[in-house]
């Protein structure tokens, strides 16, 4: 069964907002994001700054592309690629046991350390990017549909920000519980 196009549109616009929020935060303080990329400890020093700029600009480009109807499949694949790269970087550092570094997610992500929950969150974002591939183009959208889309994007971003705040809280709760043990 093909899903309704409202879902597809809402999912891509929500991802556009999420990428845009991440890009704004990274481009506001590019040196900070470069320091975070360095802390991930995956790249030789010469590549750290170019890599940081690439990620930030890729996010900004994807945010724009996801808003353009024509560019859609490419933007979705690009988003999946970017998520795969950054999630792989997180997983490598989790396996190394280096959790105390800022995730560098930016935007609505509060000040998060690395965690497996972050990997699950990114899988959720992958789902959002994949949703448009499963929809039929059957129905022509009307004014009410666009209101639904706008509502869904605002509510979805609110939930995303709330989830990130809870992820940022988790290590503090852990310290609290350990401190009394």
């Amino acid at each position: 069964m093909a899903l309704d196009p409202v879902l597809a549109l809402a999912a891509s616009l929500l991802m556009a907002v999420i990428f845009a929020a991440g890009a704004v935060e990274k481009l506001r303080q590019p040196w900070m994001f470069a320091a975070i990329v360095q802390a991930y400890g995956l790249l030789p020093a010469a590549l750290v700054t170019p890599a940081a700029w690439s990620v930030a600009l890729a996010e900004a480009a994807l945010a724009l592309a996801l808003c353009l109807p024509g560019a859609h499949p490419w933007a979705s694949w690009g988003g999946l690629l970017l998520l795969a790269v950054v999630t792989a970087a997180v997983v490598v550092n989790l396996l190394r046991g280096r959790v105390g570094i800022d995730c560098g997610c930016g935007g609505a992500s509060a000040d998060q350390e690395l965690s497996w929950s972050l990997v699950w969150r990114n899988l959720g974002l992958v789902g959002l990017l994949g949703l448009p591939f499963m929809t039929g183009s059957g129905r022509v959208l009307g004014a009410a549909d666009y209101l639904t889309v706008a509502f869904a994007v605002v509510a979805g971003f609110g939930l995303y920000a709330g989830a990130n705040q809870l992820l940022a809280n988790a290590p503090r709760l852990h310290d609290l519980v350990e401190g009394h043990a």
Partner: protein
């Protein structure tokens, strides 16, 4: 019927947005509460120079090019604060460090220590307005004090001995290092432990 459904959807949408905002605000408030009620006293790791021992001595040059001595007899005690631009908790402690520097200036100097790329550190220092503190970059310093998690603080007295140390996440934990020095115990946990034994 259609009109009733439309009205219902509009009302529900408004309610959902309100709930989303409320959930976010609650999560944020819970986060603030966790920060404020962090465990009393700095968490001490059993690594590096022990409390009461002489601190390893270092002659370093800070980011402004000035000489900084660590672990030598000095007029003031030294709070050696290990931080990094990429550590989320460190950023929250910077205003606390500044106010501590003011309130304790009669007996204490604060030295910030980090390692890594100098350019990023310089920008971080300028953006966070930390020019008042000596800021040294030395991987050896962190290794000598066996710093594993940040932000980590070490209080070194006028004779160059370690008086207290630990992982600090809040104002109370920074102050607990000073209390530990005043009370002559290694950590506030040890002090509380003694109180319980005496009782």
């Amino acid at each position: 019927m259609i009109q009733a459904l439309t009205v219902a959807v509009v009302i529900l949408s408004i309610l959902v947005l309100g709930l989303v905002a409320a959930v976010f605000a609650l999560a944020r408030q819970v986060g603030i509460v966790y920060e404020r009620i962090a465990p009393v006293g700095a968490l001490t790791m059993d690594a590096g120079p022990k409390v009461g021992e002489a601190a390893p001595s270092f002659d370093l040059v800070d980011l402004s090019g000035e000489r900084v001595e660590i672990g030598r007899p000095a007029v003031h005690s030294t709070l050696l604060f290990f931080l990094s631009p990429t550590c989320p908790v460190c950023k929250k402690l910077l205003p606390i460090l500044k106010s501590t520097a003011r309130s304790e200036q009669s007996w204490l100097r604060i030295v910030l220590a980090s390692d890594g790329e100098a350019e990023a550190q310089r920008r971080f220092r300028a953006a966070s307005k930390l020019e008042q503190f000596p800021y040294v970059l030395s991987t050896e310093l962190g290794m000598a004090f066996k710093v594993s998690r940040l932000p980590h603080a070490v209080l070194i007295d006028e004779q160059g001995r370690v008086r207290s140390k630990g992982l600090v996440n809040s104002r109370e934990q920074v102050e607990s290092l000073f209390n530990a020095k005043d009370l002559g115990v290694a950590t506030v946990q040890e002090y509380l432990g003694r109180q319980q034994q005496n009782a």
